[in-house]
């Protein structure tokens, strides 16, 4: 048994009702109700390890799908919709039970054919005429956590930029 993962709090974004949260995780509505009463009381419920993993994985998938479709509600509905490629099961239902490679084509179809390949030497010779690259300050804003990590790594302030 493990503690209910922190990611559980994110699920309401994609699954706004207890019914949809229960369906997405694969537990009963009564279980969801008990967890949420416990959370409201400041306790952290204990859940099966598989359930904890399913919740974490569900938030990973939902975040990426929302990034691509730009709609949190639509993301939740898609994750619960029966999929022809899964013979009527939903993506949420198979998460954690089958490898991610099974649902990957539903999120992004794989490209045709194998990728082209170049040797490192060929890339170097193809850029030989470019000369040295300029050293200039990054203007795009950078995530503060990332900027802090890059400073800890001793990264040049010019490429960290404003963070």
């Amino acid at each position: 048994m493990r503690s209910l993962p922190d990611e559980y709090a994110l699920l309401a974004r994609w699954f706004p009702t207890a019914r949809t949260r229960a369906a997405a995780i694969g537990v009963t509505r009564e279980m969801i109700r008990r967890w949420e009463i416990a959370l409201d009381g400041g306790a952290r419920p204990r859940v099966r390890a598989g359930t904890a993993r399913a919740i974490t994985l569900l938030t990973d998938v939902a975040a990426e799908v929302e990034r691509l479709v730009g709609d949190a509600g639509g993301t939740g509905r898609w994750l619960l919709a029966p999929q022809p490629a899964l013979r009527g099961l939903s993506v949420a239902a198979v998460l954690g039970e089958r490898p991610l490679s099974v649902i990957a084509p539903l999120i992004a179809p794989p490209p045709d054919g194998a990728p082209t390949g170049f040797s490192s030497a060929r890339v170097r010779s193809a850029t030989a005429a470019l000369g040295p690259a300029p050293r200039i300050r990054r203007e795009r804003p950078r995530n503060q956590v990332e900027a802090a990590i890059l400073r800890r790594l001793g990264c040049d302030e010019l490429v960290i930029g404003a963070g």
Partner: protein
């Protein structure tokens, strides 16, 4: 006792001082371990710029894209390479390297991967369009300069670049960046001015502005 994969990475990086080569070596080692688990990841962002343009001046983080759960990533980067984790970032202060897996799907839409050596990386044309989109969103000089150098790359497939730009609706900003990159001197005010002109009046004003120089 450190994991064998970490020891191997340490050995390969021990005498390497060039930051871009260090990042390439780390990408080789890390991607191989993900591949061993059936997880295919592709280098994107500034680290992809450095793979295509080894003289590029970029940061010490490697951005990877591919279908992988945070648990999978943690098992490799923490479990095998002993990187520390902070949020969605994994890093190692001794190696001066950071790795992030910010997304599952390559951008721009329809982008494909190429392989340089053994490292899977976003294709040159799609990387240019990624830089074009970032410039189109911000006007930032650094992405304009990166795109300018990549547009002069000896391995660029111009026909594919034009097709892809058309497919994602980026032909106008690509053309504006080409014009900008052809200027003798590019600075931040000029990059932002061209960016504003493109947004307000389109390519005609960009052409008129840059042809006066």
């Amino acid at each position: 006792m450190p994991d064998e994969h970490r020891l191997r990475l340490d050995r390969r990086l021990r005498d390497e001082r060039d930051q871009n080569r260090r990042a390439r070596i780390a990408a080789e080692e890390v991607l191989a371990r993900f591949n061993a688990r059936g997880i295919v990841l592709t280098v994107v962002g500034g680290s992809a710029v450095a793979l295509w343009d080894p003289a590029a001046h970029v940061s010490r983080d490697i951005d990877l894209v591919g279908i992988a759960s945070q648990a999978d990533i943690d098992e490799v980067l923490h479990g095998e390479f002993e990187f520390a984790r902070e949020g969605r970032h994994w890093f190692d202060e001794d190696l001066a390297l950071a790795i992030e897996v910010p997304a599952w799907v390559l951008e721009p839409a329809g982008a494909v991967a190429t392989v340089i050596g053994t490292v899977r990386v976003i294709s040159l044309e799609d990387l240019i369009l990624d830089r074009v989109e970032q410039w189109h969103g911000t006007g930032a000089l650094e992405v304009a300069l990166q795109a300018g150098r990549l547009l002069a790359h000896g391995l660029l497939d111009e026909e594919r670049l034009a097709q892809r730009a058309d497919a994602i609706g980026a032909s106008a900003p690509l053309e504006a960046l080409r014009l900008l990159a052809s200027c003798d001197e590019i600075d931040s005010p000029l990059s932002h001015e061209v960016h504003r002109l493109l947004g307000a009046d389109g390519l005609l004003r960009v052409r008129a502005r840059l042809c006066r120089r």
